[in-house]
Amino acid sequence: MRSWLKMLKELTVRPKVKRIRKSPSYSFDEELNKPLSGQTVREILAKSSDIVFRDFFLQGKERIPCLLAAIDGMVDKNQLDQYILKPLLVDLAGHPEMAQLTIANVLDKTIQSILPGLELKKISKMEEAINAILSGDAVIFFGESKEALVFGARGWANRGVAEPITESIVKGPREGFSETLRINTSLLRRKIKHPSLRMISLKLGGMTNTDVIVTYIENVAHPDIVSEVFRRLGTIKMDAMLGNGYIEEMIEDNPYSPFPQIAFTERPDVLAGKILEGKVGIIVDGTPIVLSVPATLTQFLNVNEDYYQRAMVAILSRSIRYLGAFIALLAPSIYIAVTTFHQEIIPTDLLISISASRQGVPLTALQEALAMLITLEILQEAGLRLPKPIGSTIGIVGALVIGDAAVKAGLISPLMVIIVGLTAIASYAIPTFDLGLAVRLIRFPFMILAGILGFFGISVGLYTLLIHLLTLRSFGVPYLSPIAPLRLRALLQDTIVRAPWWALKRRPQLIDVEEPQAGRKGKG
């Protein structure tokens, strides 16, 4: 019994920051602490068939045995041939510079006057050498020297810069992030050409050694938020770091909330916009999804196209999205409450029409709605991962065939089909997938509350939801900001309203003001 409870606790309670999972310890660690030498590296890595070792000699003042180590497929072989092997073995053989080489000076001489590569670095630790090789660089070991040379020649197959699938827009740039870290950083750098843009590298994942870059603009991002990001990332101790989702769950404020507390994007322009607002980006190697913190609820209802359209169009689009979110969350509940408890709200003519449509339906409004929405969820889940042509077939079969058959069989009222259809369409108006999932999830408790307690139940549910949202914070920033705490400028500048660009003279007031604000009227 106790072990069951312990297991349940482990699965449901996130450990405090200091105790997040035990740091893995490997016997491999001992080898990493050995003195740097080509032979040891060969011993550690030789068992893998994709590691390439190339032995050669340099003839200087003395004969220097060299070893080049790299991973086949991760390193650009042309660069190795052209900028390392060819100059050392062919072009400069017998050159006066080469004639002066000894074990003691080979590294410095090679870097200063022999090799032409841009990314040349001297290292002296075994761990650095292993990491460099495993990350796709080439490392050259010179005889018994305790130092080695890293040559940056990463080059592997990637899918290049393509249009993001999850964030397609009509008017705006088409490029999206890819799985390669350096491509992603370059895409961001192209957007923000300013020396204050910081890109700080980290490695996460005990086994995967995944490269992670924390990016922000110095003096724009709040220093407390930046240091909090590093603190939280520093607490992550796990073997695998295969994508952004791992980081997201480990660093978000409230892991039990259905609401997303960390924003993500596939678009460099979106990330650049967020960074310029003072947020911090987290780019993880191997995924095209880039995280940004802190995040507030209203930002999940904004899309980057709002900033490329005229202000009036953006305001209209945003208002529709808010309305869509409201319908997606509450339309079935309101229908259930009205038909079950509050018929007085409907004028007589309409009431008779609704009543006629429900004639002979054996299920209560709540049962009808639950059955329909669960079917809808199954259809959505089924269609999501199928190939596109089959996916659309599922949609047609679900919507037309099953819906129509259910109505004809007298199991479901036609009005309920309209309500569920409206709810489904409205939920697609929510631009962020994570927020859409949250709305889908909390729609069910609302329906049950409406079925049991009518509008009283919906009201209790809404206030509970409101209190929950008010308690949420993302990296110290209240989740409902700028609505509560009220930041009037931010609310009128870039929330439901998107002020014209000429009116956006100051940075958004989301994270630059600590709460409570001691300034005038408490609004900053």
């Binding site: 007085e344 004028p347 009518g454 509008f455 009283f456 209190i467 509560a484 609004k523």
Partner: protein, 363 residues
């Protein structure tokens, strides 16, 4: 340490002051002052202003302390504890009655077949959740909900305008000024409830000179805003129903909601408004839950979520133990007028006076 900004203080104070007053006031002031009852609402609320200024004066002198702690400093430990005990009992009892009122209103207006305890439980869950989330979240909750209550009240009043009966207000002051004083006395206890809340929340307020100035302004704003809104609510009820019917209806604002019809598609939006009124009542009830918790913390040094639950159970016990309808309303009125009003109106000036005297005497 949690803090409340001046703007949040305004919306929170206004939310607490408003509470469910718009549901009860019209009947009360019309009994006392007849068709001129609407004139008494604003003056009745403004009585709270000098008391609030006294609280801020004490806050300036004793920053980061609530009035119960200041009482212990100024009157001595035991007298301070006795005052704290009275504070706990008064606010605890009234909080329970508010819960009873919430259930009663929902049962009588839109859901007569639902058991009362369901409404009690719903209200209590929200109040305990808010109290457990802390004063900052409570302040933000009012920041969101109070404007919605204001909009709903304005809508209620505006949608009833077509039903105004010309002449219901006339003749003005036909019984002279004397009934107006009785009406003001009916309103004053509501202002005192707000002052009792201020007495507890003062720990969380900023104490800088400039900020205190802002807080004073926000008190004026809150009191005038709530006073004017309530005055409009009373006025529209007298204009639509006439004085006799306003007295008989007790919760006339709910009937106004029932009478709404928009273009033959939406009618009787009372149940929609009830959702908003629930928010207003939750603010007030949570405020009383907070007050009891602050009292318990100061007097007995007990704090934590479990004590909120204990207070919640007491609220529930009081609500379940009370007979509904007119008896419950009478008990509410008696508690406001003969318990909270005298307590607050004596305690605060006395405390302020002693503090001034001690400051002057250099004690």
């Amino acid at each position: 340490m949690e803090r409340v900004s001046p703007h949040q203080f305004m919306t929170l104070g206004a939310g607490v002051l408003m509470g469910g007053t718009f549901l009860l006031l019209a009947s009360g002031v019309t009994i006392a002052s007849g068709r001129d009852g609407w004139m008494t609402v604003l003056p009745g609320f403004t009585v709270g202003i000098p008391y609030a200024l006294m609280v801020f004066s004490l806050l300036e002198q004793y920053p980061r302390k609530n009035l119960l702690q200041i009482s212990e400093i100024l009157f001595g430990k035991w007298i301070g504890k006795i005052i704290g005990l009275v504070y706990i009992l008064t606010t605890g009892y009234y909080g329970g009655l508010l819960l009873a009122l919430l259930g009663d209103i929902f049962e009588r207006s839109i859901m007569p077949l639902t058991p009362l305890w369901v409404f009690y439980l719903g209200g209590l869950v929200l109040a305990i959740y808010l109290a457990g989330s802390g004063i900052e979240v409570f302040a933000r909750f009012s920041e969101v909900v109070f404007p919605v209550v204001v909009i709903a009240l304005i809508l209620s009043v505006a949608l009833a305008i077509p039903r105004i009966e010309q002449g219901e207000l006339l003749p003005i002051l036909d019984e002279g000024l004397k009934p107006l004083f009785r009406g003001v006395l009916k309103v004053m206890p509501f202002a005192m409830e707000y002052i009792l809340f201020l007495a507890g929340i003062s720990t969380f307020l900023p104490t800088g000179k400039q900020e205190l100035g802002q807080l004073r302004t926000e008190v004026w704003r809150a009191i005038f805003l709530v006073g004017i809104l309530n005055m409009l609510v009373v006025l529209i009820q007298i204009l639509v129903f006439g004085p006799e019917e306003t007295i008989r209806l007790a919760n006339g604002i709910l009937v106004l909601g029932k009478m709404v019809e928009v273009s033959r598609t939406v009618s009787g939006v009372e149940s929609l408004f009830m959702g908003v009124w629930l928010g207003a009542m939750v603010i007030k009830m949570s405020a009383f839950l907070f007050m009891v918790s602050w009292g318990i913390e100061t007097v007995f040094s007990l704090k934590g979520l479990k004590w909120n639950f204990v207070v919640g159970v007491v609220f529930l016990g009081i609500a379940l133990g009370f007979t509904r309808g007119p008896y419950m309303l009478r008990e509410l009125s008696v508690t406001e007028s003969y318990l909270m009003f005298p307590f607050a109106s004596l305690w605060i000036p006395l405390l302020w006076g002693v503090a001034r005297w001690k400051k002057g005497a250099g004690v």
